[in-house]
Symmetry: C2
Subunit: 331 residues, 2 copies
């Protein structure tokens, strides 16, 4: 299989709920006005805590400095696994499950933090630019690694990196995080970018004006529904993750899922905000899913991680993760 | 004819060009999300100087206090002339011309300031609430006056007003303001409100993101084109005034004019900002147009006034107004 290092240098940021008003102008530009921005990688995810915005340097320039904006210090690079016909995995599962053993587990072993962003089209594995040498050394046995430069794919080897292989020396401290399972059912959808104007007012309404109605939803997440909505526009491809309640607001027949009305349940990871330095969180969730061949989308946000699993599998997933909780040595 | 005092209490405000970013969130709500606001009277006009926003008290609540927002102190009431079959005017002209002699001139004589807002559908004459008694006494000979209260029209007489008739005592000081005639050609258009979502991204682009491209247009207004774009959503009716350049950005066939592609030229009144206290400015422009039976839309903004006349009449209008300049006693 091939692993591509995409030609985007990303910032991971968070806008607090009260601050969205200040960022409406640049965010609407980044979402709807492709001709006015050179941003090619944009992702916005609303959670009960905040809005996580991941975007490239061109997009980041659009965001005004503000007390409402938190920016993670690092520059992150998106990696992408491309099956090239002779895929080594026989799994039928999609999403992060497919790369759990080949990418996620080895990186966790090397103490590399990853920030996952699954979309309708693919799964982006974001790693810190400073970890790139470790990442390449770790993955080059399994993958042919290419770096995308100006639209071209150039083979890339670890000796291309100036600073040599430095195994991340941090002590592996296994923390098993609590998981919550909100009751809403989610769809992972896409849309022809030329059709985006047709859903503009609905999307604007949902993204920028619907928070006040849902204020109560955070109080008892484990029993209730959660506010979660994710929009990404990456290299011209749109992906939207929304729950069935949000979906009812959109015009029918414009958004599509990979299979008809496939529904997903969420596993939300972390009782406390996870931060960016702990390693192995994605591995902790995706390994047991890979063992059981259960598909999962995985979306990291500024504070918490989120896995989406097929609704019929939610009970087994929860029970797998609870088993693990009682016996963390399995991680 | 009937004169209706509409059931809206309006504020006239101005947002400076740099401040639009701060107001994008409330303005998009007021324009596109009818279900989220109780505002029923909203008008936004971009000129080279600023954005003039006229809106009712419900809408005004949506605007955050800001150094970028100027608010005229008064509460304004919109008046509306309704032909009830036996119209006294034989004029075929539309717009402010039709009401020049019956409304505009008498109010000017009584030193009542008016703020005009012509739309595709009608012409709103805004007067200060504190001038209402003068307005009623002045116009009740010519008109049956009704006040709209909660959707009903109630006959209204001057004795209904607590404070009696106080003729505005200000000395009539006749200032003839310079007029400019920019080269762009304008359309006065409308749109089915249900179709508004279809032009949302274009309208957002034009209103909120196109200023930077036009920065140079203010430098030589008399020879050049002017930045002027007006959108109003009043009691469910949409009116848009734009030039032919802006029109090209909109999808064809959604916006309509009263006659096919009718084009209008602008007369811009005021070399210096006009303020709100001077009376007779609208009269100064509309009387000679009424004498010559030339149609005109009239849009006041925070700093200047704007008349739109049929493109074939622009030369005679300019010459009429220049005559007046040399002989201001005709005013």
């Amino acid at each position: 299989m091939d692993l591509h290092i995409l030609d985007h240098r990303l910032k991971v940021t968070s806008i607090c709920k009260d601050g969205l008003v200040v960022f409406t102008h640049p965010l609407i530009k980044l979402i709807f006005l492709r001709n006015r921005t050179r941003c090619k990688f944009f992702s916005l995810t609303e959670t009960p805590e905040n809005y996580t915005v991941v975007l490239d340097e061109e997009g980041f320039k659009e965001l005004p400095p503000s007390e409402h904006l938190l920016v993670e210090d690092s520059t992150w690079l998106p990696l992408n696994v491309v099956s090239n016909g002779h895929a080594s995995s026989s799994s039928q599962a999609v999403g992060v499950t497919k790369i759990a053993k080949s990418v996620i587990a080895p990186l966790a072993e090397q103490h590399v933090s990853v920030f996952m962003l699954s979309t309708y089209q693919t799964d982006f594995i974001l790693v810190r630019e400073k970890d790139l040498s470790v990442v390449i050394r770790t993955l080059e046995e399994e993958f042919n690694i290419y770096r995308e430069v100006g639209g071209e794919c150039v083979p890339f080897r670890s000796q291309d990196i100036r600073n040599g292989f430095q195994k991340n020396g941090k002590e592996a401290k296994i923390t098993v995080h609590p998981v919550l399972s909100p009751l809403n059912k989610f769809l992972v959808m896409s849309l022809d970018p030329d059709t985006l104007p047709a859903i503009a007012t609905t999307l604007i309404d949902v993204l920028f004006y619907s928070s006040s109605q849902k204020d109560g939803s955070h109080s008892n997440q484990d029993l209730d529904c959660i506010k979660f909505f994710s929009f990404s526009l990456i290299d011209g491809y749109i992906s939207i993750v929304m729950d069935t309640e949000a979906q009812r607001q959109f015009p029918a027949n414009l958004l599509f899922t990979s299979s008809s009305q496939e529904l997903w349940r969420m596993v939300r990871i972390g009782g406390q905000p996870l931060g960016f330095d702990e390693c192995g969180i994605v591995a902790q969730i995706s390994q047991p899913l890979a063992d059981s061949d259960i598909s999962a989308y995985y979306i990291s946000t500024f504070s918490f991680d989120h896995a989406l699993v097929p609704e019929e599998d939610i009970d087994s997933v929860i029970s797998l993760l609870q088993q693990q909780r009682h016996d963390p040595s399995q991680v």
